[in-house]
């Protein structure tokens, strides 16, 4: 029993040193775990889509658009619907419905643009004429060069 008591002062030094090491160990461990967890959490969050600024896209040739037909093309990252009416005139509008983002389609019989999701209707100029869509569809310019149909943001040349 005496021997144990004699050892106490030495034990005390060792204890404080041990506590110190344990403390550093704990802190370093937590920091290290944080450096592991942080990248994993950031990884899980999906990235923003970068938009490549596009000015014009070739939609096809005139022969690919008989009167009363339509086609959806990719303009940068957005869909655009290109319409050729029965009277031969072209029209190009953004194909994302302004209600809840469904992709619209062209109805040849009524010459209107219809959204299948909630029965929204637009005219060939893009104006919202019926149903839930609150805003008109954005319009694009149609340029006819030789035989090609080119959709652009503005009249460039």
């Amino acid at each position: 029993m005496n021997k144990n008591k004699e050892k106490i002062p030495i034990l005390e030094n060792k204890t404080s040193r041990r506590n110190f090491i344990d403390f550093i160990l704990g802190t370093a461990l937590i920091t290290w775990i944080a450096t592991l967890v942080y990248p994993v959490l950031k990884f899980l969050v999906p990235p923003e889509d970068t938009i490549i600024y596009v000015n014009s896209v070739e939609a096809g040739t005139m022969t690919e658009f008989p009167p009363g037909s339509s086609k959806i093309i990719r303009f940068g990252r957005k869909p655009v619907i290109v319409i050729r009416k029965i009277n031969g005139n072209f029209s190009a509008l953004g194909a994302t419905c302004t209600h809840l983002d469904c992709t619209v389609q062209f109805k040849t019989d009524t010459e209107q643009i219809w959204c299948a999701c909630h029965n929204g209707l637009f005219d060939t100029k893009g104006k919202n004429i019926s149903g839930p869509p609150p805003k008109p569809l954005p319009s694009y310019h149609v340029n006819l060069k030789d035989d090609k149909v080119i959709i652009s943001l503005e009249d460039m040349v």
């Binding site: 290290w32 990248p39 994993v40 950031k42 990884f43 899980l44 969050v45 999906p46 990235p47 970068t50």
Partner: protein, 354 residues
């Protein structure tokens, strides 16, 4: 009441803990090799974790695979890091598995009573190579495409079952998007399931039977042998080593990233200097050395049979090494091991020097 006690009142975990804490590791000149198994396990765990993260963004399919990897590497936050760690850790995993196997071989740990540990370990090694082969195709780049083509061609060289095996592997006659889908399923579902089961067996055997010591040390009486308790002493040393390995992987990920490559085009011709991954290189170079006909057997078939029988021979070492069975050293097996290692290293280097 502590959580421990709450669980212990319902399920006897105290006995399990006591059993675990009984584990001790022999301390002698060769103790350092004990770490290799643990490092392999650590690398496997890293593979599973990074693999699961990659699954969240990867899209298999000939039109989307390459693009999705490109997306991960360039657009996803730390996507590059997860991908690079997965790629490097895969290679290190195969390396350490081989090292672990060879240290076990030279220390004759496969002798009775640990034959099953050796058998399960060999299966794990083959599964690791399968993981490597199937995973390599997934980025769907040029190198991967042709490596898979050549590799599966060799499978077709097997007698009788060759053609069937090739079609089974490729999900068709050629390497296509269907092959990619099949390899993806094999890589993320089939292999992990089988691997985990056999790994469980392997680890359980090690826990139950304890660590093996070389035959000559068995002559030392028990009370003169030195041991280190696994918890906390060996475990904390293990943790230190794992930490260092992790840091090395991080360094490799930043300074030696794996290339994206060019997208696979089945119609394009094979690029010059096409070669398989390093862990298959020695087999590849050996096959190249074999002449077109050895006696009456076709060269490729001969090579395939050579490796198959070689693997079976190696698998059966516990059965064949009668001396180890008796607890004696065997010069013959030592030489076999050394020759094999030297051969593998030389053929691998040879493949790269060309």
């Amino acid at each position: 009441m502590s959580l421990w006690n709450w669980i212990n009142e319902r399920v006897d975990i105290k006995s399990a803990k006591n059993f675990a804490f009984k584990k001790k590791v022999p301390v002698f000149y060769g103790s350092i090799w004990y770490y290799l198994g643990g490092v392999s396990l650590f690398l496997f765990i890293i593979q599973v974790m990074t693999g699961i993260l990659l699954i969240l963004y990867y899209q298999p399919g000939s039109a989307t695979a390459f693009e999705s990897v490109k997306f991960i590497v360039s657009k996803v936050s730390y996507g590059w890091l997860i991908r690079e760690v997965h790629a490097w850790s895969a290679n290190l995993f195969v390396l350490f598995a081989f090292l672990h196997m060879f240290t076990v071989f030279f220390s004759k740990a496969y002798r009775k009573p640990r034959e099953m540990t050796w058998y399960s370990g060999m299966i794990l090694l083959v599964l690791a190579l399968a993981f490597g082969f199937s995973g390599y195709l997934l980025p769907w780049n040029e190198l991967a495409f042709f490596a898979t083509k050549v590799g599966s061609d060799i499978a077709g060289a097997f007698p009788v079952v060759g053609d069937f095996l090739l079609r089974l592997l490729r999900a068709g006659d050629e390497v296509t998007g269907a092959t990619l889908t099949r390899f993806y399923g094999i890589h993320i579902a089939l292999l992990p399931a089988i691997f985990t089961m056999i790994l469980g067996l392997h680890l359980a055997l090690v826990q139950i039977q304890g660590m093996s010591i070389p035959p000559e040390l068995e002559r030392i009486p028990e009370k003169h042998r030195r041991y280190m308790p696994f918890f906390p002493d060996f475990a904390i040393r293990d943790a230190l080593l794992w930490l260092i390995v992790l840091n090395i992987i991080a360094l490799l990920a930043v300074f030696f990233p794996w290339e994206l490559g060019t997208k696979a085009d089945p119609l394009a011709s094979a690029p010059a200097g096409i070669k398989p991954e390093w862990y298959f290189m020695f087999m590849f170079e050996t096959l190249k050395l074999i002449p077109s006909h050895v006696m009456f057997i076709e060269g490729e078939l001969f090579g395939v049979l050579l490796f198959t029988f070689g693997a079976i021979f190696w698998f059966l070492v516990p059965l064949l090494d009668r001396k180890a069975h008796r607890g004696e050293r065997s010069r013959f097996w030592k030489v076999v091991g050394v020759v094999l290692i030297l051969y593998m290293i030389m053929m691998t280097l040879w493949g790269y020097i060309q």
